[in-house]
Subunit: 195 residues, 2 copies
Amino acid sequence: MPRLEGLIPPQTGVAIRARAGETLRLIDPEGSQVCDLFCFTDDPERVPLSAGRSADYNDTILFTRGNRLFSFEGDPLLEITHDTCGRHDFLVTPCSQQMFRMMNGREEHHPSCLENLERAFAPFGVDRYRIGTTFNAFMNVQIAADGRLQVLPPLSKAGDHVDFLLKRDLLIGLTACSDPGSNGGRCKPIRYAVL
Amino acid sequence: MPRLEGLIPPQTGVAIRARAGETLRLIDPEGSQVCDLFCFTDDPERVPLSAGRSADYNDTILFTRGNRLFSFEGDPLLEITHDTCGRHDFLVTPCSQQMFRMMNGREEHHPSCLENLERAFAPFGVDRYRIGTTFNAFMNVQIAADGRLQVLPPLSKAGDHVDFLLKRDLLIGLTACSDPGSNGGRCKPIRYAVL
């Protein structure tokens, strides 16, 4: 039985607290849906996750089972222990209101992962500028030999999941990504469980 | 005549303030030496540079002339207007005391780009956890088709330089990288000028 579980409705986000030794499972219930993850140590320091430190210490930009995600201070925070999809992104920042304004040329509000993370973290007193590059579970960013990036529909099928073993007590923000273009044309929910 | 210029001795760092419309030139005087760059808007907000936003908006992880570096908020901060080297890194975080301790198995102090940036920014009241992935000028990180990273000696020759046009007033931290392994075996100086 999971200690905690929930459904993140399309284009929303949540923050959860989980302990070292627990496993966070992210499930794509319908398939082809991205889940942005960012986290801080769950202590007064609120040390952020670091994509750059993680790339450096894993010697890779493509993360799957066996890889660890590191903090700004170089401490391991999460270890990927199971991965039925195999393709995730840890290069690009969450979609934002500014991004949608730029892409669509419209001023009106658009839900975004950045806003959803900021809102989820707000009750915990986190400085928003510490939210760095997110681990974008199921996001399919293809990288050409010349470094060019192309965002394609996620490869995840309904029920695909990725498990993260916590190496530290963490405050974790999760979203069901708000950008139709990154999610095969339609924004869908994400399910999570803490085991 | 440059408005400001200087030599960054090996394994040290500096912070400078420069204005929108000015050009920052980074010069590798001896060749094969990395210079880590991080910056914030020079206003009370201190909005940080964002590697993830920059990768997303340039659709690339390899940056050269014509590419722009963006802030956390998605505003352009710097534009690369000239580049005689052509190979830089914007994927990995600066070397740190923790990294050298881990690599060398020794506790003693080792100069590092992270410490040098933190020290350089300290008088400006910057939250250290806002220092994200640096733009590592001249750093040669090769990326295999499977995503694996390999740090090779910089391709820069003596006198190679890269120019950044400032799109905003910026507080910029620069280092002459402290890791012999990333700099062809020997840590050398970096020269900079604001034109």
